[in-house]
């Protein structure tokens, strides 16, 4: 008998447990990816419908009942478009940029706690991880603008990276108050800490931070009124002007997933994630039987609806106004909020 072929039963058991763990994680990733992509498809439909009704139009109506199949028609169209690369473009960077942009948005889906027991990677530095990866998304924008070798794309790329960099600071600082109250970077722990806190949601003690966060969230995802990087009246489409077909779709996907991520952070850090405040449960105890994912999704989509709402309401800012709001108003307010929160936490 060959001694090398005998495997220690303990090792075998360990391997089996490891295999099952890996399998569970892969299934979770598949679910999140599928739901994430479906979310993007219907987020565009939702957006067009909401803005349509706000402007007294019907929105998409032709494909399927009430235009419900419109996202699939759009997807198919994008898929069959010709892939055009500008003659003077830097090819390697041109290919790489949309991939960096979408991947950096997708990776963040892995640390968000969708429900009590449903998070792909429950890591201790969850919130910092999101910031780190979101910071990488800037490279996608920047490199796309540079590699296209077009002035519109270039200006769009420069504007966008300056904007995202400035507002990332305000957004990070606005979340420090939440970190102080929860005493953790772990997103699941932040939700649990909120559940046990007096107010049940951090949006009440941290409403100043929540306002700063919401404003910088809009700027961070390049949406109206801060959509200067893709201001279509000046820059055609900004940094992705030269992209077509599926590469364009990658930018589109990345942008909508980034919106979903930001809405998730607001739901998890300020609105209590999958939980309800204890006083609501005391008044309406039967709500306890509703699965947590429902509350989580309601909070996320309420935030996304808010995005669409301001898009249909507010005109675009000027670039210098944008920078002034970020550096001279939001960052000082966020810093003051940190000091006050720290003192309050020290006293209580």
């Amino acid at each position: 008998m060959n001694a090398a072929n005998i495997i220690d039963p303990a090792t075998l058991e360990g391997l089996a447990a490891f295999g099952i763990n890996v399998l569970i994680i892969i299934v979770k990733i598949a679910v999140v990816l599928a739901v994430g992509l479906l979310h993007v498809a219907y987020a565009t439909y939702f957006e067009r419908k909401v803005i349509g009704h706000m402007q007294v139009r019907l929105g998409p109506m032709r494909v399927g009942p009430h235009g419900l199949l419109q996202p699939f028609a759009d997807g198919l169209k994008l898929f069959f478009k010709e892939d055009i690369i500008p003659a003077q473009a830097d090819k390697a960077m041109f290919y790489l940029a949309p991939v960096i942009f979408m991947a950096s948005a997708m990776v963040n889906l892995s640390v968000i706690p969708y429900s009590e027991n449903f998070v792909i990677a429950d890591i201790n530095v969850g919130l910092l991880f999101i910031f780190a990866i979101a910071g990488i998304g800037v490279y996608g924008i920047f490199l796309a603008g540079w590699a296209s070798n077009s002035k519109y794309a270039f200006i769009g790329g420069l504007r966008s990276s300056a904007q995202v960099l400035s507002y990332e600071i305000a957004m990070g600082l606005s979340l420090v108050g939440v970190m102080i109250l929860a005493g953790s970077f772990n997103l699941s722990d932040i939700v649990r800490a909120q559940q046990q806190s007096v107010f049940g949601m951090y949006v009440i003690p941290q409403f100043v931070a929540f306002i700063v966060f919401t404003i910088s969230a809009v700027a961070e995802t390049n949406r109206t009124p801060f959509d200067l990087p893709e201001a279509e009246s000046e820059l055609v489409a900004g940094y992705f002007t030269e992209y077509s077909g599926f590469r364009f779709a990658l930018f589109f996907l990345g942008e909508y997933i980034a919106m979903f991520i930001i809405a998730s952070i607001s739901a998890v850090c300020f609105l209590g994630g999958w939980t309800l405040p204890w006083y609501v449960l005391k008044i309406l105890p039967f709500l306890e039987y509703v699965p947590g994912i429902v509350w989580y999704l309601i909070k996320v989509y309420a935030f996304i609806f808010f995005y669409y709402w301001i898009r249909a309401t507010v005109p675009r800012y000027r670039y210098d106004q944008l920078m002034k709001i970020g550096w001279k108003i939001l960052i000082p307010i966020a810093l003051a909020n940190i000091v006050v929160t720290g003192f309050v936490k020290l006293i209580l």
Binding site: D90, A92, M93, L96, I123, N124, V125, L128, F129, F131, A132, I133, A134, G135, I136, V138, Y139, F142, L143, W146, L158, S161, A162, L165, E168, S184, F185
Partner: protein
Amino acid sequence: MIQQAFFAYFAFAITVLALVVITRKNPIHSVAWMLLLFFHIAALYLFLNAEFLAAVQVIVYAGGILVLFLFAVLLVNVREEMRISRFIGAGAAGFTFAVGLLVVVLMALRSFIAAPPGMYTIEHIQQETNAIALGKVLYTEFLYPFEITSLILLVAIIGAIVLAKKGLRG
């Protein structure tokens, strides 16, 4: 064994990537390779159970400093810069210095003594979590160096503003 292989890969990749960064003719390509380099360094921190440092490494270096590099490179005209060769013509002198430095480092390595293990074992840090352990040390034992560092950074920021505003006033 797996740990050694892991470390060997990252150490090797970091060295190779660093060489790639400094030999690219196009500064934007250099920055892109450097981004990859920073991710490898962050992975090494993870390997040392320092997840907080790994996240901060990516946030500060990849998300902040490197983007500012990109700005600087883009705002001085890149298209002209691309034709200039990247090294000055003193290869022989540079090589001599590099070899000399290598010899000094190798000699210093011979007298290497591992520091005695302190109270911060991996188990202790995992129980307390990275950020708390780091914060406690930083704000008690190393408070003065920490504050002095922040003062130096503040001076640099004010200096930059003064230099930038000087032209506007005159």
